[in-house]
């Protein structure tokens, strides 16, 4: 028996609270957009600069687009870097075992450029709608913060379970330290860039203070 297409109406109170009805209608719109959008792998691997006219060839954002997010200057660049990093990591996984696939994708890319132009509007709209209303930017920062919290809690379990001197415990500890260093380096570069350009710092940078729960006690 085939399922009849039907609208799944989510009650706002069931999901995120009754005061978010406007967001709920956006959620359902975005889902409809994604369902109707037909994205091929080659189109997804197309750099953002080709999809959105607000980016230059290297994927650097143009200043007026930052108004899209309304939250500091990092978000768009970080979003680009995040998406490029994601593409890189996914393409690395492809290249590991299947070198032909990369050449196939390239061939597909060139042939699908014209279809991309035609189909640009639907996935383009869905993508930017999602950017604005669903996934927070910078996404990588949210993921890293959360991963850091999870791993710090896991470190305590490792220490209790297998001891401080175990190889796995030390590996986890080093990983956490590496993650923290990367994060603080990013913050430093952003602050340096912000101060250097003379633009006001984004609110989240001011609010960031070392979370005591994330600092492993020695």
């Amino acid at each position: 028996m085939e399922e009849k297409p039907s609208k799944v109406s989510l009650k706002p109170s069931d999901r995120h609270g009754s005061d978010k009805e406007s967001k709920e209608s956006l959620y359902s719109d975005i889902r409809d957009l994604w369902t109707t959008a037909t994205l091929s792998q080659s189109e997804l691997n197309t750099p953002l600069s080709d999809v959105c006219g607000n980016f230059d060839a290297e994927g650097r954002s143009i200043s007026h687009t930052r108004g899209w997010y309304g939250q500091g200057r990092r978000s768009l660049d970080e979003g680009d870097k995040a998406s490029r990093k994601l593409r890189r990591s996914s393409s690395m996984e492809i290249n590991e075992g299947k070198e032909d696939t990369a050449s196939e994708i390239k061939a597909e890319k060139s042939s699908s450029t014209s279809s991309l132009d035609i189909a640009k509007h639907i996935p383009h709209r869905a993508y930017w709608a999602e950017q604005q209303n669903r996934l927070p930017l910078p996404l990588m920062e949210l993921m890293e913060n959360e991963a850091l919290e999870v791993l710090t809690e896991a470190l305590w379990s490792y220490r209790l379970g297998i001891g401080r001197d175990h190889l796995l415990t030390q590996e986890l500890q080093q990983y956490i330290e590496g993650l923290k260093k990367r994060r603080s380096k990013k913050l430093y570069l952003i602050e340096k860039d912000t101060l250097g350009s003379g633009r006001p710092e984004p609110a989240q940078c001011h609010d960031r203070s070392p979370n005591p729960s994330l600092t492993p006690s020695e």
Binding site: S89, M140, A154
Partner: protein
């Protein structure tokens, strides 16, 4: 079972027809998984898995351990990305009240997860352990085995399970149609009333 508001998973969503993540969401999820993959084995061990689930949901320790045992279908003590993806889809389906649709669309996968012994049948005890994942009430589970155990062996084979998912989604659609019809009738009555008032004035 609720996802923690503001967590990374909380921002993801399933396509409501196919109950799957978009490719963009999958890419982000993959990145997240690799952040948690501390030991570089493309897997999460039980400790990492526990802390992840404990952090992003309100599940208890016993439930988290059950979920781990269910997903560790190769019994290697670790969860790979494939299993992680299935888990995230189940969590999001539950969060967004898409359990019926998810079970209907992915009945084979769900059946495979609940078939803990690997004998192509689901026992009531096993289903009882995991009904919290699919928002199935106790009485509903009893009725399920009563109504759909056609072979009478007190266990569900795949055909019986699939039939259950079809009937469940059918009931859901009928309920929704009823609600929509009721709302439409209300609106039309209201419009009629208003037009009468306008004519009267």
């Amino acid at each position: 079972m609720r996802l923690k508001e503001g967590s990374f998973l909380w921002y993801l969503y399933l396509d409501k027809t196919y109950c799957l993540l978009s490719v963009r969401n999958v890419k982000a999820l993959m990145e997240y998984f690799h952040l948690l993959d501390v030991h570089g084995k493309n897997t999460l061990n039980d400790v990492l898995f526990y802390h992840f689930l404990h952090h992003v949901t309100d599940l208890k320790k016993r439930e988290i351990n059950l979920v781990f045992d269910m997903l560790d279908w190769n019994a290697v003590g670790e969860i790979g990305f494939e299993q992680f993806y299935v888990l995230v889809c189940i969590l999001l389906a539950h969060q967004n009240h898409l359990e019926e649709r998810f079970m209907y669309r992915h009945s084979r996968t769900v059946f495979g997860l609940l078939d803990l012994e690997g004998d192509q049948k689901i026992s009531p005890e096993n289903f009882e352990m995991y009904r919290f994942l699919f928002n199935i009430q106790k009485q509903e589970l009893k009725d399920l085995f009563c109504d759909f155990d056609i072979t009478g062996d007190r266990r569900l084979n795949y055909q019986e399970f699939k039939l259950y998912t079809i009937v469940r989604i059918n009931k859901l659609q009928k309920r929704k149609e009823k609600t929509e019809n009721a709302e439409r009738e209300k609106k039309s009555l209201l419009i009629k009333k208003m037009s009468h008032q306008v004519h009267a004035s």
